[in-house]
């Protein structure tokens, strides 16, 4: 408004033009901000890009010094990641070289004097990660939502104490209780089971998800549900039809946080699983290999490990960014 009553030289400023976008200085400021953002993004992404590059490098390229930016891509890392191999003797190598029925992976490992003797466990471990992280995320968001709603809307006896108790579950570094948990799990037979890991991660995430979701549900005006109640809906129907759609931002945020935690968790997975329920994080280091570090295989494993979380976060980004409730309820 001030701009219209006092016109700037050279510019016609109307209501739809933001004053901070037209001047030279603001434009320079915007450009500087953009440049800084790009630089930060590049710095942050360098390790990820490097990881991706290493995954497609051959062993000499991966360990070359100075590091090679341009190289001939190979799937050697992935072959090493997904297979178990044995070392061949000199005579066997010669014999293998004669054969014409070798597949591409066979040829790749033969270059290194090895033969494929079977699939590695990595595929199964990645699947374990998907099952355990997926299920524990679902349960921690589901139960978190129910209890957050109850804490937000009802007069729960001892509400403050209970909420503090729930919060206090996060006060101790989790690793401190790893030995007690290990002993308990071994005693009750939860050691190296999917159920045990899902239970553990759910309880880790629950305190966080209750608090986070309670914040989001507190923001949803009670009148929404009350309107649904007088309109003839039950409490549960009102929750499903009104609260859930309104809380979608919070649910998305909680899902991503819970998923990242249980997907990345390393220490407990190392302690509490061995063969059956082993997840991906503790198994990637085992790809380091014997007789020299297989950097390409480790990078390939890490890359495969990154992808699911990136997909989920990307799928939910719209909800993470959008403020759903704005505009409908006016605060006077």
């Amino acid at each position: 408004m001030a701009a219209t009553s006092q016109p700037q030289p050279g510019y016609y400023v109307n209501y739809s033009t933001r004053v901070d976008k037209v001047g030279l200085r603001p434009r320079i400021n915007t450009a500087i901000r953009a440049i800084i953002a790009v630089i930060i993004t590049i710095i942050v992404l360098i390790p990820v890009v490097w990881l991706g590059m290493t995954a497609f490098k051959s062993r000499p390229d991966a360990v070359a010094s100075p590091p090679r930016v341009f190289f001939e891509p190979t799937i050697e890392g992935f072959v090493f990641l997904l297979t178990d191999r044995r070392q061949l003797s000199e005579s066997e190598i010669a014999e293998y070289r004669e054969r014409t029925d070798l597949s591409l992976p066979d040829q790749i490992v033969l270059e290194r004097g090895q033969a494929i003797i079977g699939q590695s466990d990595f595929g199964r471990q990645l699947l374990n990660s998907l099952i355990i992280a997926g299920a524990s995320t679902f349960f921690s968001v589901f139960f978190g939502l129910l209890s957050a709603y109850a804490f937000s809307r009802f007069d729960v006896p001892g509400k403050d104490d209970l909420l503090f108790f729930i919060l206090s579950q996060r006060m101790l570094p989790a690793v401190v209780v790893s030995i007690p948990v290990f002993l308990m799990y071994r005693e009750v037979g939860l050691h190296d089971t999917h159920f045990g890991m899902i239970l553990l991660y759910t309880s880790f995430n629950l305190s966080f998800s209750v608090w986070l979701l309670k914040g989001f549900i507190d923001e949803i005006p009670r009148e929404y549900e009350e309107a649904a109640l007088v309109d003839g809906y039950t409490r549960l129907q009102a929750f499903r039809k009104i609260v859930l759609p309104q809380a979608v931002t919070g649910i998305a945020a909680t899902t991503v946080f819970a998923l990242i935690f249980s997907w990345n968790e390393y220490a407990f997975a190392l302690f509490l699983t061995s063969n059956v329920a082993r997840t991906a994080p503790p198994s990637i280091p085992t790809r380091l290999g014997t007789g020299g570090i297989e950097w390409a295989a480790v990078a390939a494993g890490s890359l495969a490990f990154l992808i699911p979380v990136v997909i989920v976060t990307f799928a939910l980004r719209k909800h993470l960014l959008r403020g759903v409730t704005f505009g409908a309820i006016r605060k006077g």
Binding site: P221, E223, Y224, E226, A227, A228, L229, V230, D231, G232, Y233, T234, Q237, K241, I242, P245, Q246, V324, T325, F326, G327, A328, I329, R330, K331, G332
Partner: protein, 367 residues
């Protein structure tokens, strides 16, 4: 349509009374306004009728049916909220259809009823928009449509105009009144705005400090306030209230003014004022004041004279610091500091007991 009856309905939060035991009968098709300052218990009363708040004790009857402990959805009432409570993830049409879906109506019937109600409120053109993109007035129309579409037994409205801009408020006030007249639906309307209450209510229930102060028609609460609170609360400015001394049919006011007490009041005043040594509070509305330069019995100094456009409001100082207001024609102005001699229209004089703060009524008024 329905009658609503409250019997000894009470609400406590912990030890504090939000609503002290209250009796009220709302007739079929009546427009009742609950009026009072914030925190007086009017919204709590409304929420108890709706079932959103449980009563501490007492009973609520809807059409003679005891609904005290029924779930809100089983009471057949509609509630309009101050902040509209429109679901932002649904379009206006879906919002309006929402209560009908709860009843399991079929699609054709829902479409028909939504069309009917949106025609009545003239909101057909915004049905496909989401609440966030609507103006405050349109949002409230959609909220009203959502309440109307179900044809409930009663409407409960909690300051439905409170969140609107002043200009919309006037329009919507008339619209709601119109709707009420057309639908003839029992309505309980909560507001803290006395102008709204006077304009809309068939009867007004004035509450303060969790207690009902008076239930009456707008004219009754304006002209015959039951106590000092109502006298002050209704009208802007409120009733002039001046402490005086009663003796032998005359009340002496500060600064030498005198009021001749109408005969109907004399006996009652004698009886009521025995314990106050004749001290009484005289009340009169600003428009009861009549300039009478020749033989007025009251005199004061002009303290201020505000022109309000259609009339002017005279501030008169009877004695040190005691100011009364008089409503005068807009054509005469009185210089500040001059003497002003006036009378008070005898039929508009009211008396209050200074200790109980209750009105002292005239003989024959039956109270």
């Amino acid at each position: 349509m329905a009658t609503i009856e409250l019997r000894q309905v009470e609400k406590k939060f912990g030890e504090a009374h939000a609503v002290k035991p209250l009796d009220m009968t709302i007739k079929d098709g009546e427009f009742i306004v609950l009026l009072g300052p914030s925190g007086c218990g009017k919204t709590t009363t409304l929420r108890m009728i709706s079932g959103l708040e449980a009563v501490t004790s007492g009973n609520i009857f809807l059409n003679g049916r005891d609904v005290t402990w029924l779930h809100p959805s089983e009471r057949d009432i509609a509630f309009v909220f101050q902040f509209f409570a429109l679901y932002s993830h649904m379009t206006a049409r879906e919002n309006i259809a929402f209560p009908l879906q709860a009843q399991g109506e079929n699609k054709a019937e829902i479409t028909r009823r939504v069309a009917e109600v949106s025609n009545m409120l003239k909101i057909e053109h915004i049905l496909n928009q989401r609440p966030g993109s609507l103006s405050g007035g349109d949002q409230q129309r959609v909220a009203l449509a959502r309440a109307l579409v179900r044809k409930p037994a009663a409407f409960l409205m909690d300051e439905p105009l409170g969140a609107l801009d002043a200009e919309f408020r006037e329009t919507m006030r008339a619209e709601i009144k119109q709707l009420h007249l057309r639908q003839h639906a029992t309505t309980v309307y909560v507001t803290h705005d006395q102008i709204e209450a006077m304009a809309m209510g068939d009867r007004i229930v004035i509450m303060s400090n969790a207690v009902v102060q008076q239930i009456g028609t707008p004219a009754e609460v304006y002209h015959d306030p039951a106590n000092l609170f109502v006298a002050r609360f209704i009208g802007s400015p409120g009733m002039n209230l001046v402490k005086g001394q009663y003796a032998n049919g005359i009340v002496n006011l500060p600064g030498g003014s005198k009021i001749d007490v109408p005969t109907l009041y004399r006996q009652r005043l004698e009886n009521a004022l025995k314990d106050t040594n004749g001290e009484v509070i005289v009340g009169f509305r600003p428009e009861a004041l009549r300039a009478n330069a020749e033989n007025g019995s009251c005199n004061a100094k002009v303290y201020a004279d505000d022109l309000h456009g259609g009339f002017s409001m005279l501030h008169l100082e009877l004695a040190d610091g005691i100011i009364v207001h008089g409503r005068m024609g807009r054509d005469v102005s009185y210089p500040i500091g001059t003497h002003f001699i006036f009378d008070i229209e005898p039929s508009m004089i009211r008396f209050f007991h200074p200790k109980t703060e209750m009105a002292i009524h005239a003989n024959g008024s039956g109270q």
